[in-house]
């Protein structure tokens, strides 16, 4: 099976990451960078009938001063075997979550990978931190997977690359920080890696077999570990304080890595706390996402985001779904930017 290189038209084989002729990356990662379509006019002023006044370089309307929605406020990405939606939600001024997705073939078999990061709001430039982290991580992860590296080592290496990218943003103004969650889905299972309280779930086609694959690095989780019930722990004012993260103020955090080999069909869900705060149980999430996630992961991811927004949208929400076993859908991906 060969396809033409999008840059030079030369055919390439299923395992090629780069065009042998022109060097173009054949299936680069899709990143929620917001670069595609930041609004150039203030929609609120336009709705009120004001003549266009322009948007400042920092993204503010030159007439009313309000922040104009950026491309990052909501983005949908679909690379075939992985699709995701990130949304600002209703209560936050900007979207500090970021995601990156990629799909490739290793020895002819499809492999999907995704990284989700949640910028820590109490730190400066957290939106830049999460974006830099997912970029660095998918770059490292994709190269390692293409090279046939062990997914566990590749995942830990990618988390460290993300950590350096975030640490590089530190300045006199402070150290930006972000949570981290990645998943590499191949034909036999999923390798997950995380820091902080972004989560990865296994959503089984047989809903009751669903389970969470990560353990939060949070004070709530520590309270549970010392005997508190989940309800008690989550009511603690410090429930969402995370104990591990990416950032210059926590040098070289050790990422958690785990491997799970599902017994049957299902989907891997990566999400930030903007989703799971409203529905932490794997079985509930599975009931919402399946069976749609198996055939149309983008629509299923969008439905999960809509659920969280309708429930209050208190935080930024990011959901990524990857069907297992990984496969390109019958139709071509909707967007591959």
């Amino acid at each position: 099976m060969t396809s033409p290189c999008p840059a030079c038209g030369e055919p390439f084989g299923p395992d090629d990451g780069f065009c042998e002729v022109c060097g173009a990356e054949l299936a680069p990662a899709a990143v929620s960078s917001g670069a595609a379509d930041g609004a150039r006019e203030c929609p609120l002023c336009a709705a009120a009938g004001h003549p266009p006044a322009g948007v400042s370089p920092e993204g503010y309307c030159e007439f009313c001063g309000r922040k104009v929605p950026s491309g990052r406020d909501r983005e949908e990405l679909d690379v075939g075997p992985a699709a995701g939606v990130t949304d600002r939600g209703l209560r936050h001024a900007r979207n500090e979550d970021a995601m990156a997705l990629a799909a490739t073939r290793v020895s002819g078999e499809p492999v999907a990978l995704a990284v989700v990061c949640d910028g820590v709001s109490s730190a400066p430039r957290s939106d830049e931190a999460s974006l830099s982290a997912v970029r660095a991580a998918t770059g490292a992860l994709l190269s390692a997977v293409r090279a046939g590296d062990d997914p566990a080592a590749a995942s830990a290496g990618a988390a460290r690359a993300a950590g350096s990218a975030v640490a590089d943003l530190a300045s006199a103004a402070g150290a930006p920080a972000a949570t981290y969650a990645s998943a590499v889905v191949d034909g036999t299972g999923v390798t997950v890696c995380w820091l902080g309280d972004s989560r990865v779930y296994w959503l089984a086609a047989d809903v009751s077999g669903s389970r969470r694959l990560t353990t939060d690095d949070s004070l709530a989780e520590e309270l549970v570990a010392t005997g508190a019930t989940v309800e008690e722990a989550m009511q603690s004012p410090q429930a969402h304080v995370i104990t591990r993260w990416l950032g210059a103020d926590l040098p070289e955090p050790e990422p958690h890595v785990a491997r799970f080999e599902p017994p049957g069909q299902g989907a891997v869900l990566l999400c930030t706390d903007g989703l799971w705060n409203y529905s932490p149980e794997a079985t509930e999430l599975a009931a919402m996402a399946l069976p749609g996630a198996l055939t149309d992961p983008l629509a299923a991811a969008a439905a999960l985001v809509k659920f969280a927004v309708d429930a209050g949208g208190a935080d930024n929400i990011t959901t990524v779904l990857m069907p297992f076993p990984p496969a390109w859908p019958e139709t071509s991906p909707r967007s591959e930017r």
């Binding site: 400042s56 920092e58 503010y60 309307c61 007439f63 009313c64 001063g65 309000r66 922040k67 939600g89 209703l90 209560r91 936050h92 001024a93 900007r94």
Partner: protein, 437 residues
Amino acid sequence: MTSLPGFTVQIDQNPYLPVGGRDVSAVVTVTADTEATDGAPSWQDSADGSAEIIIVDCSGSMDFPPEKILAARAATSAAVDVIRDGARFAIVAGTNTAWPVYPTDGSMAVADARTRAEAKQAVTGLRSNGGTAIGQWLRLTHRIFQSYPATLRHAILLTDGKNQHETPEELAAAIGLCEGSFRCDCRGVGTDWVVDELRKISTALLGTVDIVPDPAGLAADFEEMMRGAMSKQLPDVMLRVWTPQTAIAKFVKQVAPAIEDLTGRRSQTSPQVGEYPTGAWAPGESRDYHVGVQVNVGAVGQEMLAARVSLVASSPSGQQILGQGLIRATWTEDEALSTRINPGVAHYTGQAELAAAIQDGLEANKRGDEETATAQLGRAVALAHAAGNEDTAKLLAKVVDVMDEATGTVRLKKKVSTADEMALDTRSAKTVRVKKE
């Protein structure tokens, strides 16, 4: 295009507003870079664009005691020595009229060894005789400045008495004529002059006012003032404030090194933009401004640009923006965020209260209202103590007996020297910056 130096603009604020909140407040620290970022020499190094005029009071009272006129001559000579080669300068004498002392034809001399010697020779001929009409002095100074197109125009005005030989309206009209034409630092020698009169001039002409109680201190003070003036290299910098449509720039105050309310000096350049004069700047100079904006209420989670503050200079190629900072607003339901007090804003709010308490206290004391005077000056003592404003605390301690500086428990001194009272009055607007943690 002329390359002008950059300004660093730092914004210190709490951007979070509670639901329904409208008032946004920020401390804007503006610092003139010492050199352009590309390394090119950006400050004009030649003194060619500078012009200085020294205005010396020669009224009859300057002879009582005669040390005053002698000190004024010596101080003028000392200041002349500091004028850089190539700068234009002149000396004006003032009584109930005014005349050019040097050069005598009402022009300006180019500073060099010869002209400095001639000027100092001319100064020795200054005699005191006549009245005081400061408006006349300012009008002549303005006329002389018009004779040469300098970009940095600065005057030093010395007087020892009140403006007796013209009406306040005449003085105000003269100040209005000079506004924007030159900057003026004012000094009162002795205690027979009126703080408010000189303050009107120094405020309008973007200068300082101070008392020199002892004529012996005059020469050093003049020299320092002239050195300060000679260090200025960038004229007519405006603080430009953009606000959203429907928002109001409620106040713009310089708060360091001293409080100067610029709110009333706004010139509206377009519906959403106003400009405030900041005068001339020296390389590396730093000042703080307190800016208050009232915005329309936004939804929870909405982020808004409440003001864009920029420094604007005029150059032959037009206006240039030398630096800018953004004042933001974000509405939140999280009270821990919206109620957080910004230390910089709180500090300067306190410093402004301190200045106001001193003014009110001295005013009450003049009226004989000892109760109000004690209360206000006591409050001033407490505020100065809390902010670590030691200079002001020392000046206050000369006017009141301090029992407890923390609570501001004070008693008015039975005998207060007029000079101490005037020193407190003129220096009450001086501020200290926020203590670094």
